[in-house]
Amino acid sequence: MTMVAAHPLPISDEAAKRAWIEQQLAELTAEERQVYESDAGFRSFVDLALADEAANPGKAARSIAECQAYGGDVERELEDLATGRHPLCR
């Protein structure tokens, strides 16, 4: 069955995303490349992560920055989630 997106992106955008993903894959280290080619679980993880980042540029970096800002203070994060001050609530 052919899936057709309800709101397909312009071809150029899809092409740009594909090119970016290909570039990231080309930058795998030799060791990562070996695992990527031999381990289906790692390969699907990397493919999913790259597709997610291509669809949501900067998402992972924001998540990392937010976690760094809390510095492992779980109670403060829980309190901010409860009061709507957490970055995820914005």
């Binding site: 990231q24 289906a40 679980g41 699907s44 992560a49 998540s63 779980v74 994060e77």
Partner: protein
Amino acid sequence: MLPSHGELLEGFAWHCRAHRVDMTDRQREGAEIAILGARRVAGTLATDPTSIPAAVLFGLSLHARELGPTWRGFGLLVLQNLTARTLGSSIELDDAAAIELHRLRLLAARDREAFERASDGERRAMFEPMRAFVASRMR
């Protein structure tokens, strides 16, 4: 089937490198032990294949501290990847659901010591909210 230790560890190392999160050798060792622990916990909590992704996420959340600032994104990717690869399903998370799932993960991280002291039955009870929530978001 549980994801292999190597799959999780390689995925974590790549995720950190791809996002320029530097780790010392000691932090790397800590992450490796955390992933080992997370996998072991998941093996005891998952009662059927459909609960494995949530059990792995729960195990990783218990070890959030050792996984450093990539723990939130890494865990979500593991959840989505396992759900897609082993169950052929996906996890649907709107903004409210993403907040609730993160809250459940934070509770697991906060209650790690209690979890370690708990009986098997108590451990299952602690895992149940995350299992049920993930199941309700599976499509």
